[in-house]
Homo-oligomer: 173 residues x 2
């Protein structure tokens, strides 16, 4: 059947340099463990598998390696769209400003009374990543969290429609 | 294929009395809309479908109708186990104390440095409910939230194992 993968957090910290620079011919000399697959490295691999588009709906986004991942996809020509929460986008450490300055389209929940609490991503319109995990260091490295990754069309389609609805509803133009 | 259902929130407020007292022969006279299915009524139906067990992992639990649902399952003889967050179980409006006083087994994350941020439930060991939705009125009635309900064994199994792990790790005995 279609891809179904479940990842639990916290994830142990390992070197992720090989995911960002896969063609480097020099072995990394940083002090973190190398060559170990973790929940977080699996998440990065799924995000970095994007070829055409990444649609991201996330309440809180302060994780710098996830920010680097999104910037790298944008540089590669992947169309990235982000919907986020109005209040959380301006908290200390939020990476939303960095994304905007890099030219990535970010929209936020317009209503002041409502939180945009989703935490899902859709890769190339066909792979859904969804769960409890916000894009923060605390979520990745400390909390009990989960995400599921699936290409089941019956599960992906409703999230694709919901993303489109939120994207259009929060058009600032 | 196995059940796959996706529900988005906020949900509109409707009368849910018929779900709690299905055999009542008197029509409800409350002012809320009747006979309308919503994301929230779907969620209640899935929870109330439990015959043998309900395993619940939830960060924040203050929603009184969800509390009533859990109490009703407990009264019916369904084995209910709850794992929750240490800090959030004591906030104002939390229903965790009500569950404990009714004799339901509740365990909480023991570590003070870590949040138990999951929001999933497993009905009869075979139906998984998972997403961004905390069990609060704000989540149900205001926020942009999602849950997916599935009986895909490949998705349900990892959550069953994770629940068992958290249950055993947080045994206070
Ligand atoms: Zn390294
Ligand atoms: Zn009524």
């Amino acid at each position: 059947g279609p891809l179904k993968e479940v990842l639990f957090f916290p994830s142990t910290q390992t070197c992720l340099e090989h995911l960002f620079t896969p063609n480097s011919s020099f072995p990394c000399r940083c002090p973190l463990p190398h060559g170990k697959e973790t929940s977080f490295s699996r998440l990065l691999r799924h995000l970095l598998s994007a070829r055409a588009s990444l649609d991201l709906c996330v309440f809180s986004f302060s994780h710098m390696e996830l920010c680097r991942t999104i910037l790298l996809l944008h540089e590669r020509g992947v169309t990235v769209r982000v919907v986020t929460d109005r209040d959380y986008m301006t908290i200390t450490g939020s990476q939303i400003g960095t994304l905007r300055r890099a030219g990535i389209c970010v929209r936020h929940e317009m209503s002041t009374a409502v939180h945009m609490h989703h935490k899902f991503a859709i890769v190339d319109g066909k792979k859904l990543i969804n769960g409890s995990l916000n894009w923060t260091v605390t979520a990745v490295q400390s909390n009990k969290e989960n995400i599921m990754v699936t290409e089941e069309p019956e599960l992906v389609r409703p999230y694709r429609l919901e993303f489109q609805k939120l994207w259009e509803a929060n058009d600032p133009a």
